[in-house]
Symmetry: C2
Subunit: 344 residues, 2 copies
Amino acid sequence: MDITINDVAREARVSAATVSYVLNQKKLDRITTGTRRRVLKAAKKLNYYPHASARGLASNKTQSIGVSINKIDFLSFLYFSVIIGGISRVVGDYDYNLHFTITDNKAKGSRKNLFFMRKVAERRLDGLIIIDQWIGDEDIMELKKRRFPFVLIDRDIPGEEINSVGTDNKEGILQATEHLIRLGHKRIGFILEVMKFYKIKEMLAGYRLALSRHGLKYERGLVKESAPNMEKAYKRTEELLRLPQRPTAIITSSDKIALQALTAIKDNGLRVPQDMALVGYNDEPLIAQLEPQLSTVKVPLQEMGKIATEILFNIINNGKMVKEPRILLKPELVVRKSSGGRIG
Amino acid sequence: MDITINDVAREARVSAATVSYVLNQKKLDRITTGTRRRVLKAAKKLNYYPHASARGLASNKTQSIGVSINKIDFLSFLYFSVIIGGISRVVGDYDYNLHFTITDNKAKGSRKNLFFMRKVAERRLDGLIIIDQWIGDEDIMELKKRRFPFVLIDRDIPGEEINSVGTDNKEGILQATEHLIRLGHKRIGFILEVMKFYKIKEMLAGYRLALSRHGLKYERGLVKESAPNMEKAYKRTEELLRLPQRPTAIITSSDKIALQALTAIKDNGLRVPQDMALVGYNDEPLIAQLEPQLSTVKVPLQEMGKIATEILFNIINNGKMVKEPRILLKPELVVRKSSGGRIG
DNA sequence: CTGAAAGCGCTAACAT
DNA sequence: ATGTTAGCGCTTTCAG
């Protein structure tokens, strides 16, 4: 059988409670350095590791947090991998475990099992980080109602006091659009992901703001939604290319979409940036190294992951929400080759 | 407070034991359909979810499996994302939870906490899938000695009876090399990851076999190790380019490395494939869409993930190891643009 | 076919 | 400063 706390207690000639105290490093030191040493030695000698379930049952803490990602988004793993990299670094520092929660919003009935709510209900998690645009606001509000600790990444529910860390995507797209306008572009296409996402709405606002600032008219026909599956981005790009008055530049809401767009543009015999300027979004690794190198908007992905995790642990351990619920980081325009030089 | 099994028992006017029986769907049906219905109704009405820790303590099962990935490999997330996609699909079907275990082989002392062994020792996991070339054979053998259920993906320990699902990488590189030889190449560079990995050794064997089959001499100077960090691949490529007798083609042990090589080749004013043919490995998503499109060896990544998970559940639930411990899938050469046409 | 009872390994009051 | 005593919520013999 496995080694239990009682084995350690016997070996160290103390009670199980004392072993528990020593191992849990209570603040109030009520233990002699002598006994402490004996306990530690015994634990090491027996190679003792506490049984997580037993501990969880008694303390109602699991030392685990979950990261919720949508099934659909598995394709955009570049974006997520960087965020998760940031998260896992902090998780390691705090000595917590990371649950991977893959949400399937299309799932019905028993398949809803995949959903993170299940893990919460089963008390498998002490907290949750949500990087999932697809989860409905209702579900997030449900979490809040239950007072379950969680933090949103790169999304928000306006008007609600919810912990989130995001990037100013309105500002990001504003910069990208203005960059193109300054290069002389007057007709700028915009291919975006699911329009109903808050994040995307913000981006659209940035796009429109840039246009109006420079006296350009907003044209509905220049904005294309590539939802629900990303492959649509290729088709949407072709739609833009076939417009009677074709745009001279295209902005996308992610580098991944930009990649599709790039392929579509080339396949249609046009050159980037000479015939069509292109700007991506996120500055995802690898993708930036396309030919031509992709101009994009750098989003501090890893930073978002780190900060969100720090906030989450703060909530879990100090019980209270943070003063400033919403953290908004700054995006940064990265000009490379694909946006080209001055035109017209 | 939360709803417990006793609340459900009271509501259904049965004992907690009966509730447990009904909810766990025991094979031996000892329950009246009447009581069963009452219990189910009560559980649904109260929105009952069993407490995972309590269940884990009593049954010594966690309904969780871990996936072990190395910290270093976070950069090659394209490769992993596809494998994990396969894993998560099966995990969802079996209604298990997925733990993300990020291993840090450089970590010493308490930081070793990040290591999956800790999770195993704490009984957080029912099983483990290892996609980690960096973990030492000793650690894997330790797992075996403990009779802890696990499956290896894309690696193996030759001579040991260990469950693993991989791809015939020797065959894969053999095909890639022969493809180039048939196009007329006689000096073929090979940039690979850490030489000591079993997987890489197999690849090297495939490379050498191809050469010898066609009467070509193996030259140590044409083989470059890009370890430990991948950015080295750029430098290694340049080393090949500066060789007195430069190769006319380069093979890499992953598409990710091929991407680095491609950049290096272009930066040095050479064209692919005209001046230098290039073949990648894995057929990772997105990367294949480079310019020029990358010839590569398709590895059934998602399939490996699926099969490994099926095997793991089989081990967990049926207690016994599989007859055939090692599953070896077939790679497939994918010829696109970067390997070019016939030369010489 | 169902219930009673014990116990999984740990934590946390409460005593001493 | 340490030990005693109850559980935490569930599963699982064992009786009936």
